[in-house]
């Protein structure tokens, strides 16, 4: 294990975080808030830690898979701890665990909050909360890679460990350029989001916060109530479209820009993702019209918004869907697990993994009939290698296992089953909103400290797609040989 290099990259990451914290500091100063000093102190502490770590002189500059995994896990943990400082210093939350929960929820684009009335918070803090969604959405280490090509080949190990989805593909030969391209797409989408929201009548500051949350598929809002009262009637539609766009594999936007239309048409994950979204929205619409006597237009608006918010693991809401009929709730609960496409900012299991798992089941069924048949699992007409299929199957299994374990542990604290299950699913899938006590408009503040810590870990484990974090807790990881 090359600890020198791990420390050095973590130090660089912290220096970058210190620089990034200057943005909310600026916001605080512009609005003349006292929270500015909280940011100033956080910057000093983060920069100091970063400087100490970057002084390390590594023996060699090679980064292998092990170092990559450790850098990513520790990097996220460190970013969350230091990013939590402003919340704590500004007294926005009562304890440091709350601050850590809030910041992890931000960086992992979960959007589960423990703040009951965000309207009372300083604007700098609100900005930092939503900005952390934007940073975490594409990956804080991908951000580091985009800025520091010097990491070189080892960067691929980091990229792989952080990338959302079963395989990490580069768009262009150099990793640093790939990271820069991804961030360009991301930035473009964010600007588009803010413009669209401003055009729909949202005030600029709120539009920026909602834009960060939608494009990063986070879910923090500056309101204590569901979105819907802010801006014109076009706002829910605009946000729904933006969330759906953020749940698409970002490399497809690059293909679009290169005018390779065919790769868009032949992408089966995109088709299935859009298919699930439209089908679920249609089902919920019909259910709402029949049971609650909604008008068709109204029902469609709420249904599409809620479905796209949950499938992309954003967690915004326009209505309190806890009051919806059971069938609609069931559809939304299922969607907590789906997640968007691989290579997007969404969390969850991801559509492509579900497709592979479904095809695996189909294969087993066929093999019941033809025991000698060779049935490859194919995606986009290409055979998925056997190892990838196996790793996806175990991913899905582990995901459900962690969901069950999380539910049990939350229920142990005495919470009702529906709340426990949806809290575990909402944090593991980085959705941030569930049912019951953690339903829309509610906060996670009533949980006890240990449960908050557990949910914080679930968020991190879910964002880093489990294996990256879990492997660090195996003895084999630390063995020298």
């Amino acid at each position: 294990m090359n600890f020198g290099m791990v420390g050095r990259i973590l130090g660089t990451l912290l220096l970058i975080e210190a620089l990034i914290l200057a943005v909310p500091l600026l916001v605080s100063v512009v609005y003349g808030e006292t929270a500015a000093s909280a940011f100033a102190w956080s910057i000093v502490i983060t920069a100091a830690a970063g400087l100490v770590l970057t002084r390390i002189k590594p023996g060699s500059d090679t980064i292998k898979a092990r170092e990559g995994l450790l850098i990513v896990t520790l990097g996220w943990a460190a970013a969350a701890v230091f990013g939590a400082l402003p919340f704590f210093f500004a007294r926005a939350v009562p304890t440091f665990i709350d601050a850590l929960f809030e910041c992890t929820s931000g960086l992992t684009t979960t959007g589960a909050t423990i703040i009951n009335d965000p309207e009372a918070l300083p604007r700098g803090i609100l900005f930092w909360r939503s900005f952390s969604h934007w940073l975490g959405g594409m990956g804080i280490l991908v951000f580091t890679l985009a800025l520091l090509p010097a990491i070189g080949v080892g960067g691929m190990q980091i990229y792989k460990a952080e990338a959302p989805g079963p395989s990490a593909d580069k768009l262009v030969p150099r990793l640093a350029n790939t990271a820069q391209l991804l961030y360009t797409v991301y930035l473009g989408l964010t600007v588009l989001a803010v413009l669209a929201l401003v055009c729909a009548g949202v005030p600029l500051f709120d539009a920026v916060l909602l834009g960060f949350g939608a494009v990063g598929t986070g879910g923090f809002t500056p309101y204590s109530t569901p979105i819907g009262s802010v801006g014109g009637s076009a706002v829910p539609w605009a946000l729904a479209v933006l969330m759906i766009l953020a749940g698409v594999n970002f490399s497809l936007y690059y293909e679009l820009w290169r005018r390779r239309w065919s790769s868009l048409g032949s992408n089966s994950e995109l088709k299935v993702y859009l298919g699930i979204t439209v089908l679920s929205a249609a089902l919920v619409t019909m259910n709402l019209v029949r049971s609650l006597q909604y008008g068709w237009g109204d029902a469609a608006k709420h249904a599409l918004f809620q479905v796209s918010s949950i499938i992309t693991t954003t967690g915004y809401s326009t209505a309190d869907y806890s009051q919806w009929p059971e069938f609609s709730k069931a559809v939304l609960f299922m969607l907590l697990f789906v997640g968007g496409s691989a290579g997007s900012t969404a969390g969850g299991i991801k559509v492509i993994r579900l497709m592979v798992a479904a095809k695996l089941v189909g294969r087993e069924v066929r093999r019941m009939l033809h025991s000698q048949a060779l049935v490859p699992v194919t995606i986009n007409g290409r055979v998925v290698p056997q190892e990838t299929v196996a790793s996806i199957a175990s991913f899905v299994f582990l995901y459900l296992g962690l969901f069950v374990a999380g539910t049990l542990l939350v229920a142990l604290a005495g919470t009702d089953l529906f709340t426990s299950a949806s809290a575990a699913a909402a944090t593991l899938g980085n959705v941030g909103v569930g049912f019951g006590l953690v339903g829309p408009g509610n906060s996670f503040s009533f949980f006890s400290g240990p449960v908050k810590l557990l949910l914080t870990v679930l968020m991190l484990v879910g964002r880093l797609e489990m294996f990256t974090v879990l492997v660090i807790f195996t003895p084999g990881f630390w063995r020298q040989a």
């Binding site: 002084r55 002189k57 590594p58 010097a150 070189g152 080949v153 691929m156 030969p173 150099r174």
Partner: protein
């Protein structure tokens, strides 16, 4: 530069490795998942699975914006086809590996009619290299730079036993030459004045070509240091074929031992005045019968590295003066020098160096890979923006393991000292350990570092973690 490489075998990998280190954008295409995985894990390049001769693949990677297409799959015909298609689709330059001797005479035709700019035949390169070694004797002319004005020579201390045991600073035999590296038991030593030479060391010297000739010439270990009279070649593959023909033309008596009867028939038919023997090269009785111990030189060129090494050792044990083995895996090279085999020739490294020279033609004018790729000697044309311009070498504080061996200004060659200054437009010949190639690039090509570089290195200069 955007470079497209078809084939992720040993050669494709080596070229991709060297070129990506030098900052090019590289795409590697192969049909084999495992080969691609290896590339993906170790190099910062883009990989894609598929047959590069498919129009779809070539179009996907936009040949019009590609500077060089390099086809090094295991089939000559596929390589030629890929290059032809890539040219047709608008790529600037194309290079192919073509091995079959049957095509050797139509290389010109391929270049003219198909537009393939560069064709590499590793077997022929290997034969040339071995031929050069056998004919020249002790000092091996590794490479020429600056249109032949500067040379790099590999020189064994055993040729001048009086040098052994002395420190470099005591010796005054290296007039105008720079000892850039010493290879001892397969390890590279970056020498300084107090480095003591050992009897089995191999020195790497850079200097003006006439000075090198003078130095290597008066070493003259063997008066008969001309052509070996009797040469035995084990393995009658393509490299063996080219080598036998070359040596025979120079007047040596050449014996080839080859296992495959049909191949023997082919060799006998196509080589005049060469004795072709059908038999197993690892059969001692056969080797004795063919007077192994009476040979002046033994060259092992079978397809297996292990067999080549063992047979070469056998040759050495029988007291053959010069023994050469072909070894395709570069990580064995350091081992071989320890074993006492005179020279190991690696077709992959030789071909890779030739291809890189072709591809980088402009800025890096010349390049050779040493010690199995652990070090490079490059010729660089220095631009105005480079950090090394206008500073004395002493003040540059180059890292240990990076040595400026010669500065060529117009037609004037200088072997630099601490107070030498590099000016824009100079060609410099630099010896550099592979681990430092990144820094080499940074120093010689890129403008002075900015803020992020400072952030990365935690200080203002270009950074050199290994020097302190």
């Amino acid at each position: 530069m955007r470079i497209f490489i078809a084939g992720a075998g040993k050669l494709g990998y080596k070229v991709a490795e060297a070129l990506s280190r030098n900052g090019h954008d590289i795409t590697v295409v192969d049909t084999d998942d495992q080969a691609l995985q290896r590339v993906n894990n170790n190099l910062d390049v883009l990989t894609a699975k598929g047959n590069a001769a498919q129009l779809q693949i070539l179009e996907q990677f936009n040949m019009e914006r590609t500077s060089v297409v390099l086809a090094v799959t295991d089939s000559d015909e596929t390589n030629i086809l890929i290059c032809q298609m890539a040219k047709e689709l608008g790529c600037a330059r194309a290079a192919a590996r073509v091995r079959d001797p049957a095509y050797a005479k139509q290389i010109d035709f391929f270049s003219r009619r198909f537009g393939i700019d560069f064709i590499i035949n590793p077997d022929q390169e290997v034969a040339k290299e071995i031929g050069r070694y056998l004919v020249q004797g002790g000092a091996i002319h590794v490479e020429q730079f600056a249109q032949g004005r500067v040379g790099l020579v590999e020189y064994s201390v055993s040729l001048r036993p009086e040098l052994a045991g002395r420190m470099l600073c005591e010796l005054d035999v290296f007039h105008g030459l720079l000892v850039v590296a010493v290879s001892r038991d397969g390890e590279i030593i970056i020498p300084h004045g107090s480095t003591q030479l050992a009897g089995k060391d191999v020195l790497y010297l850079i200097g003006k070509t006439p000075d090198l000739k003078a130095f290597a010439g008066d070493g003259e270990p063997w008066p008969q240091r001309l052509l070996p009279r009797n040469v035995m070649i084990l393995g009658g593959g393509n490299a063996g074929f080219y080598l036998a023909r070359h040596l025979q033309e120079l007047g040596a008596a050449v014996k080839i031992i080859e296992q495959d009867e049909a191949r023997c028939a082919y060799l006998a038919e196509n080589l005049r005045n060469v004795l072709v023997i059908h038999g197993d090269g690892s059969d001692h009785d056969l080797l004795e019968e063919e007077n192994l111990s009476q040979m002046d030189a033994l060259v092992t060129l079978t397809g297996l590295d292990e067999e080549n090494l063992l047979l070469a050792l056998l040759g050495k044990q029988r007291g053959i003066g010069r023994v050469v083995a072909k070894v395709s895996r570069s990580n064995f090279i350091s081992l071989i020098e320890q074993l006492g085999i005179d020279r190991a020739v690696n077709p992959v490294l030789i071909s890779a160096a030739a291809i890189i020279r072709f591809i980088q033609g402009g800025q890096i004018a010349s390049l050779s890979l040493l010690f199995g790729g652990q070090a490079e000697v490059v010729e660089i044309i220095v631009t105005e923006a480079s950090q090394v311009v206008g500073v004395t070498l002493a003040d540059l504080n180059l890292p240990q393991g990076m040595i400026v061996g010669a500065i060529v200004r117009g037609s004037q060659v200088t072997i630099p000292r601490g107070d030498s200054v590099i000016r824009p437009g100079d060609r410099v010949v630099v010896f550099c350990l592979a681990a430092l190639v990144n820094q080499l690039e940074r120093l010689f090509y890129r403008p002075r570092g900015g803020f992020l570089r400072e952030l990365w290195h935690g200080r203002k200069d270009s950074g050199n973690p290994s020097a302190d």
